[in-house]
């Protein structure tokens, strides 16, 4: 910019290579699209990038759980009931091995509880193999296959241990991620559509309509959310199938989750309603629906995306809480909440603390969503730099 004036040509010729590169960068910056700018800013946000990677990992391992999990959700290992997690090793007292292995087990009687328990046998090694054949499955319900990412030849390997029926906690956790994330996803989707319609009407119409909708939202918001969910979930008939409960729950989350989103959309619309470009569209004869969809919404798409990402964790936490107390999904469905139900009893946790591992997934997923949301918000907000976000 300093040389734009052009009053001193000799200076201009002496632009160093560095300066020219700077200028090119600036030019690229000025001509970048909104989404490019958002992406550039987002990329600088390390925590949010990490959050995105973590979420992608959980989502992909969940969606393709059949491949990533060595066993199905119901398969039992009678030789390793209530077994502790088996951590793959590269060396032990007998030396080093390039291929990871676990120790074999032998059954012993617990001197205190007098129950049969499996304990590791440090003299036997079971090597972990990759891309092994195992149970048949259909990926995404379509593609048949029987290759699993890893497994062992004879016995079974349990990275996260087994529950009191001998089921593999690691495999079940992967399947659970799929259920929990997808319930959240469906919930957010439903909430978003309702918020768009209701918030759109309230924000565009304003006045009495807006007031009425505001009152109703207020009443819903004043009832504590989990007790409300519980009350509605209690009404699910006991003879419903798990699929029915699954969809009923995501609908429930959507139905109750929309007010926050609707309020945001309404707020955005109310501030934009009197902008000149809206008036211009009205004068051109555009219908309200078209003005909202084509002109007003795109101006804050990025904010809506942020809002959606931020509302995700609430859905996940609600599912976990409901299933945890037995008012949500029920076995044989597997979700994070259903799995944690096994860890409700302090005696159980004392004996098998690894049953609590799905909780770590909940916490990590929610954390990842939160930092991702923060990163996106900072990236989407052109003033975020001057404001200096809380984690900037």
């Amino acid at each position: 910019m300093a040389t734009l004036n052009g009053t001193n040509p000799p200076e201009e010729e002496k632009l160093s290579r560095k300066e020219r590169r700077e200028q090119k960068k600036k030019l690229r910056y000025y001509t970048a699209s909104q989404w490019q700018l958002v992406w550039w800013r987002f990329r600088r946000h390390k925590a949010a990038m990490a959050g995105a990677v973590v979420l992608l990992t959980i989502a992909i391992t969940g969606i393709f759980a059949e491949f990533f999990a060595p066993y199905s959700t119901t398969e039992r290992d009678p030789n390793y009931v209530q077994g502790a997690p088996q951590i793959p090793m590269f060396w032990d007292q007998n030396g080093f091995s390039l291929q990871p292995f676990i120790h074999g087990t032998r059954t012993e009687r617990d001197p205190r509880t007098l129950r049969q328990v499996a304990v590791p046998d440090p003299d036997t090694r079971i090597y972990i193999e990759f891309f092994v054949e195992g149970e048949d499955y259909r990926l995404l319900g379509l593609i048949p296959g029987n290759i699993h990412l890893f497994g062992v030849a004879e016995a079974q390997v349990h990275l996260f241990g087994t529950d009191d029926l001998g089921r593999d906690v690691f495999s079940r956790t992967l399947y659970a991620s799929r259920t929990s994330l997808s319930i959240g996803f469906l919930g957010v989707l439903i909430a978003f559509m309702m918020a768009l319609v209701i918030g759109g009407i309230a924000g565009y119409a304003g006045g009495t309509v807006d007031y009425g909708i505001q009152r109703v939202t207020e009443v819903i918001r004043v009832i504590p959310i989990i007790p409300l969910y519980m009350g509605l979930a209690a009404a699910f008939p006991s003879d419903w199938t798990n699929t029915q409960v699954y969809f009923a729950m995501s609908t429930l989350f959507g139905l109750i989750g929309w007010p926050t989103l609707a309020r945001r959309i309404r707020g955005h619309l109310l501030t934009q309603r009197h902008e000149d470009y809206v008036l211009a569209a009205q004068l051109a004869g555009a219908k309200p629906r078209r003005i909202i969809a084509k002109h007003m919404l795109p101006s804050f798409t990025s904010y809506i995306i942020v809002d959606l990402v931020i509302s995700f964790p609430y859905m996940i936490l609600s599912e976990t809480a409901l299933s945890f107390i037995g008012l949500g999904l029920r076995p044989p469905s597997v979700s994070w909440g259903v799995m944690l139900q096994d860890a409700q009893n302090i005696r159980t946790i004392e004996q098998m603390p690894w049953l609590f591992l799905p909780a770590a997934f909940v916490v990590i997923a929610v954390l990842a969503f939160t930092v991702l949301g923060d990163g996106l918000r900072d990236a989407a907000d052109p003033y975020s730099v001057s404001k200096g976000g809380s984690n900037g």
């Binding site: 009832i223 989990i226 519980m230 009350g231 809480a321 037995g326 409700q344």
Partner: protein, 331 residues
């Protein structure tokens, strides 16, 4: 000011009325009706044959043959005029009897939790904002992220686990054994308070995390205000200045979200109570939902929500007392 309070009070009544309709609708939601459940509960296992006509007579006894609005009016009329919340069939007594002490214990737990939340959140957040980019500030950010990600009931489980495995200590329950059924005495109150601390801290966990963030960011905004610079330019000592100007305004969002905090605490209460074995309303609520004992559930839901509405009112009034701009706006 009085006008404001009166106007708000009318709003409270309208909201309570709408809430009661919603609560009653939730009570009516479960499939089958109250009479069938009552009969099933009362006579199953006793060998008595229940006929369709028996159920019909129960139905008439409870007025279930009347239309929705009549039933609603009966229910709400009983509550408003006679303070009668109906029958708890799972316990075969009145809802009032079932709830009894639990309402009081719930409020005690709520207030200890609120006090813990504010005592922790406000000073720490103010300190972190003043010492921005210090270790205290960064650890506050980490804690507040964790507070939102780690649900209270999981924290409760973790604390239980730590208590049992490391200290051989059971931190559940609200009373020691010797006081469980004892009449109220100073000793019992003290026992209750000492048992309330862990549940209150667990319940305060996420509310504190949220308030830490709110207070910190308001405080940061306020610290950059010109009015703070102006006061500094008058030569006011730094600590006096911080307390009088930015900190005073950083309290406002806390006051204005008091109802929201109560809402959040009540929302998390049932599950935490279940995990920690607290004999209060939330845990009873879960049980009555599982039993489909809807008069109990409805009574509790109405009480919890009613209290939230009340706290919203209190917070509005407090905010108006604290902030002349709010007073001017609300007139």
């Amino acid at each position: 000011m009085l006008m404001l309070a009166a106007r708000r009070l009318i709003g409270v009544i309208v909201t309570l009325f709408l809430v009661s309709i919603m609560v009653f609708a939730i009570m009516e939601l479960p499939p089958g009706d109250y009479a069938e459940r009552y009969a099933f509960r009362k006579f199953s296992g006793t060998g008595v044959q229940v006929t369709e006509s028996d159920i019909e007579s129960i139905r008439i006894d409870f007025g279930l043959d009347q239309p929705f609005y009549d039933r609603y009016l009966n229910w709400i009329g009983g509550i408003v005029f006679e303070f009668d919340f109906g029958e708890a069939f799972a316990y075969e007594t009145s809802v009032n009897n079932v709830i009894g002490d639990r309402a009081f214990l719930t409020l005690a737990l709520l207030f200890v939790t609120l006090i813990a939340t504010y005592l922790l959140a406000i000073p720490i957040a103010i300190y972190a904002a003043v010492r921005r980019h210090s270790i205290a500030d960064y650890s506050l950010t980490v804690v507040s992220y964790l507070g939102l990600a780690l649900p209270n009931f999981m924290l409760a489980l973790i604390l239980l686990y730590i208590g049992v495995t490391m200290f051989d200590l059971d931190i559940g329950g609200l009373f020691s054994e010797e006081y469980e059924d004892a009449p109220w005495s100073l000793g019992k109150v003290w026992d209750l308070l000492s048992h309330l601390i862990v549940p209150a801290l667990v319940l305060a966990w996420s509310a504190t995390a949220l308030q830490l963030q709110t207070v910190r960011s308001t405080m940061l905004d306020e610290l950059n205000k010109l009015s703070v610079m102006a006061a500094r330019a008058r030569g006011l000592p730094e600590w006096k200045l911080l307390l009088k100007y930015p900190a005073r305004l950083a309290i406002n969002p806390v006051v204005s979200t008091m109802g929201f905090d109560v809402n959040r605490i009540f929302s998390e209460l049932p599950i935490v109570a279940l995990v920690l074995g607290l004999p209060e309303l939330g845990q009873l609520l879960i049980q009555s939902y599982l039993d489909l004992d809807m008069y109990v559930a409805g009574a509790i839901l109405l009480m919890l929500t009613g209290f939230i509405v009340l706290m919203n009112f209190v917070s509005d009034i407090l905010l108006a007392l604290l902030d002349p701009r709010v007073r001017a706006r609300m007139g």
